[in-house]
Symmetry: C2
Subunit: 333 residues, 2 copies
């Protein structure tokens, strides 16, 4: 299996991607990682790492920055790592493509170069959340405005992803809404409810905000506007609580003592569970190739996890399953 | 000042409202609380409380349950506590009305009986959030679908509420979106951006999900679908973290020791800040009277806080300010 990696993606490029690639091929010798980026720079960086294994390198001279307008950048930078990586995927020279760069850039480069799975109306960004049970949320921002039939397809793709890639048996799928009763929701959600009911999946009805965290659902479907806000709100709230704990642990001698005991013991476990580096990477579902986006501040360990997730997507034959399921849904209409 | 209280509202009625009313009048002797509910039951319950002060009681024989359809219930139960309380407000026999009951019921009873402030298109539910700095979020569920001009009015009302009731000088107002750059957002938000820019308020542009928690804004405006989901997601995540901390503190002897030290010292401070009972109550902004909804599981202390919040809304002349500001906005159009 060959997985292409954008060496220039993310806040810690090229170090994090290179170190992550080295970690990944050591841990998973069956995987070949193809490094996409400026060849001279990559060779120079690899030379600094005494015991780095040999990698295939595919040269790409340009980079799409985190703040660039995705579609414009993809069109104007023909030799960007994201564009070159997507072309490898399209031409069958890689089985998956991973980047910690601009998500919008990956989406645009993917749509232009790899295209959508036959029958998919809109690709969606999904991710596992840092919950105690497997919980996959989509869309996280690829589509700020959706139609009910987009949400229906997200439900189908999310269910297949949870089952085939995350290994959840008969995943329970919810539709995010402002109340659990049928009939709650904005107009789009109310209409999507009936469409999702027609799918051959385990649809559990409307999910409320709290249901993201309590284990009632394995997949929750929403538009990219709401999904992005919910995800970033959770990040912000987590950071606030962490800061408050730290300050509290410094506030008086007994709290300091409890903190000194808690930090190395209890805290590590919670931190590990909540750590975005543990999550792997967020798949762009609906593209006609395995495309995964790691978060911008990915450590080498996060990149390693992203490569592992990519290999799991490839092994699962997720794309073939989606195409088949969409064809079957269409026949039933 | 006379504040009407729904004795039958919430999960712990009538005990919590009655005990909360007693607490409130003891703490704030300038406030008169009018108890709305079944008179015989109220007298019986008050008789059990040896040193209860005297209250005005207004009889209401029916109750709107938490799971009833709001508009239907309000229409069919003419003698419901919510309907009777709203009529007191309308007739000037109370300056504010507080309930821990069904939020939708309060909204429907308010619209039918008290009406909207002149110029208000849609009332909105707002609330302070458990953040370290004053942060007021609206709408939390009164309007699952909104138009850009509704969001504009929410921004104006939220800004006035933060300034006049919460005491924030020149509150910074944000529009919740899936990215901070202008132009980000769904279609409604993109259009609302320009409308909010025209208001004479301190508009700070788009707010991301994380900005709810980090102190960048004092007021964040969104539709009731997104607001409800964000609020409930935060509740659910808070509960998950609390459960994890508790379990971690039991997992091994050193963690147990740190927990035994942390719980009575540090934890109490964090719990106090995050406690919904501390928040007071959520105002229904845009009704032509001071209407506040306390959360369903309100303790007596939460009811006491809700009555205090109601008195602050009355003292602030919030309703007069909104009417004036909307008239001025209209003249400028």
């Amino acid at each position: 299996m060959r997985i292409a990696l954008d060496v220039m993606g993310g806040d810690h490029a090229p170090q994090s991607p290179l170190d992550g690639a080295i970690e990944a091929v050591r841990a998973m010798p069956e995987i070949e990682v193809v490094l996409v980026g400026p060849e001279a720079l990559i060779r120079e960086e690899l030379a600094k790492r005494a015991d780095a294994p040999a990698f295939d390198i595919v040269h790409a001279s340009e980079v799409i920055g985190m703040d660039e307008h995705p579609a414009q950048a993809v069109r104007s930078k023909k030799d960007a790592t994201m564009v070159v990586g997507m072309k490898l995927l399209k031409d069958g020279k890689a089985d998956a493509f991973v980047s910690a760069g601009n998500t919008g850039g990956m989406l645009a480069a993917g749509i232009f170069n790899v295209g959508r799975i036959r029958g998919v109306k809109r690709p969606a960004l999904g991710s596992r959340l840092p919950t105690r049970h497997p919980m996959f949320l989509l869309d996280l921002g690829a589509n700020a405005d959706v139609r009910p039939d987009y949400l229906q397809q997200f439900a189908l793709m999310g269910s297949l992803y949870a089952e085939r890639v995350l290994g959840v048996r008969n995943p329970r799928v919810g539709l995010l809404s402002n109340g659990e009763e049928e009939g709650k929701g904005n107009e789009t959600v109310q209409e999507a409810f009936g469409l999702i009911q027609q799918l051959p999946i385990n649809f559990g009805g409307n999910a409320e905000g709290r249901d993201i965290w309590n284990g009632r659902f394995n997949v929750i479907v929403t538009d990219g506007f709401t999904g992005n806000i919910v995800l970033k709100s959770a990040e912000g709230m987590g950071r606030m609580i962490r800061d408050m704990l730290k300050e509290t642990f410094k506030s008086d001698p007994l709290s300091m003592l409890s903190g000194a005991l808690f930090m190395p013991f209890g805290y590590k476990k919670i931190k590990k569970m909540m750590d975005p580096d543990e999550i792997g990477a967020a798949p762009l579902l609906g593209l006609n190739g395995a495309v995964l986006v790691a978060h911008g501040s990915s450590s080498p360990y996060a990149i390693h996890n992203a490569i592992r997730t990519a290999s799991e997507v490839v092994k699962s034959n997720f794309i073939g399953m989606v195409e088949e399921a969409l064809a079957a849904t269409k026949e039933n209409e």
